[in-house]
Amino acid sequence: MKRLLLILLGLFVGVSLFAQEEEVPIADVIFEHVGDAYEWHITSWKDHPVSIHLPVIVRSRTSGWHVFSSKRLEHGASYEGFTIPHDDPYEGKVVEIIDGERVRPLDISITKNVLSLMMSAVLLAVIVLLTARWYRKHDALEEAPKGLAAAVEPLVMMIHNMAKENIGEDYRRYSPFLCTAFFFILLNNFMGIIPFFPGGANLTGNIAITMVLALCTFFTVNLFGTKHYYKDLFWPDVPGFLKPIMPLIEVFSALVKPISLTIRLFANMLAGHIMILCIVCIIFAMAKYGPAMTGSMTFVSVLFGLFLDLLECLVAFIQAYVFTMLSSIYIGLSRAKE
């Protein structure tokens, strides 16, 4: 182990002898990686960026729908009156220039995050449907599941049993939602950790994604509550002088729950991504201090990067589990009988 570390250290110092001195805008790099974009930058090959140009779909208030490749807006170019500004307001977003003013059109472009979302949704559907197919083709009473089914089944049953514990009687109605949410978050968390093409998008670290998930939980909780749940919400059993305050507090807490779910998942995943990117960026930040410094810091960076990646794998699972568990608990509260 010690020898391996020494070899690594030597290798990094050696490699950094050939490093070019060039200032890297670290903050920009980091925010580019965790943010959304109209193209998916995969790598650079001989100074040419290799990226997928995704379709821009916008609806202008004046000229209706426009669909075109984001290649036409590269490097600040403008097309059909649309452009992507590099400064505020609307930095990095498609805007329409109307009378010299930046106007944000209705924008449902297939961005990096949307493509990633589509791919992971298809992947998840394939995984779960293949597992379900195993159970349709085989007699589960005769055979133990093999392959994919054996891998997915324990996770499904973990969530199913969690629903059973936290919700009680009619947990079967809610278990598919909890399973879908769990697998969706888990898969996208892991896809986010993978640093190259099919992965790498920071989907579960995007507040829009976590907000939709949390809103799903919110509506599931508050649309299918029992009579007792609503009574507790608006007219709880408390001493008279608390009667006017308690409903306020209760309603407020019901509204805060989805917000906490949103922020928890979003912040955890975003912070994980930023941490890993920072550690990786140490290598580039050190370039100007000479080979010895760069090499040794690369060594440190790789060790920390490895540690953080492993930590993120743990966090990916924990956050998916926590989101699902809290959702099931909230649903369980809304199904209260007495």
Partner: protein, 169 residues
């Protein structure tokens, strides 16, 4: 900052895609898996219960078998004992019967011997009487002619006869 403001386009796509995904998985995915696994765990529970029941029944049967075996053994020993008792009794009875028979035969034989002896004695006595009468006649014919001597002699004879009578009887 754009990181903290949810983007409308992404929201739109997320709602559609997640909704579709949920619809598909909730219809053809998870319920099938969970119901099959639930069914399987129910089957496993049932077979475990059955196995336990069978085990209990098996142990009951073993105990029953054991009990029957020991009972049979006991019965066997009882029967053996009875048989030997009966044998002894039969032998005993046969012995006593044989003894009684032997006694009867002996006593009968004794009675008959006694009777035979009696009749033989009677015959002998008769014979002796006849003989003595004959002897007497012969003696009388020869010696009674000598009166005096005859008288002595007669009395001696009578005495002797009487003595011999005594011994004979």
């Amino acid at each position: 900052m754009s990181l903290f403001t949810p983007d409308a386009g992404l929201l739109f796509w997320m709602v559609i895609i997640f909704g579709l995904l949920f619809f598909i998985l909730a219809k053809w995915g998870f319920p099938l898996i969970t119901s099959m696994v639930d069914k399987r765990s129910a089957a496993i529970d049932k077979s475990l219960r059955d196995a336990k029941e069978v085990e209990v029944r098996l142990s009951e049967m073993t105990a029953e078998h054991e009990r029957m075996l020991s009972e049979a053994r006991k019965e066997q020993s009882v029967m053996l004992k009875e048989a030997s008792d009966t044998r002894k009794a039969i032998i005993e009875e046969a012995k006593t019967e044989a003894r009684a028979e032997a006694d009867k035969i002996l006593s009968e034989a004794r009675v008959r011997i006694e009777a035979e002896k009696e009749s033989a004695l009677r015959d002998i006595r008769r014979e002796v009487a006849m003989l003595s009468v004959g002897v007497a006649e012969k003696i009388l014919r020869k010696d009674l002619s000598d009166a005096e001597r005859g008288e002595d002699y007669l009395s001696t004879l009578v005495e002797e006869a009487a003595r011999s009578e005594k011994t004979l009887s």
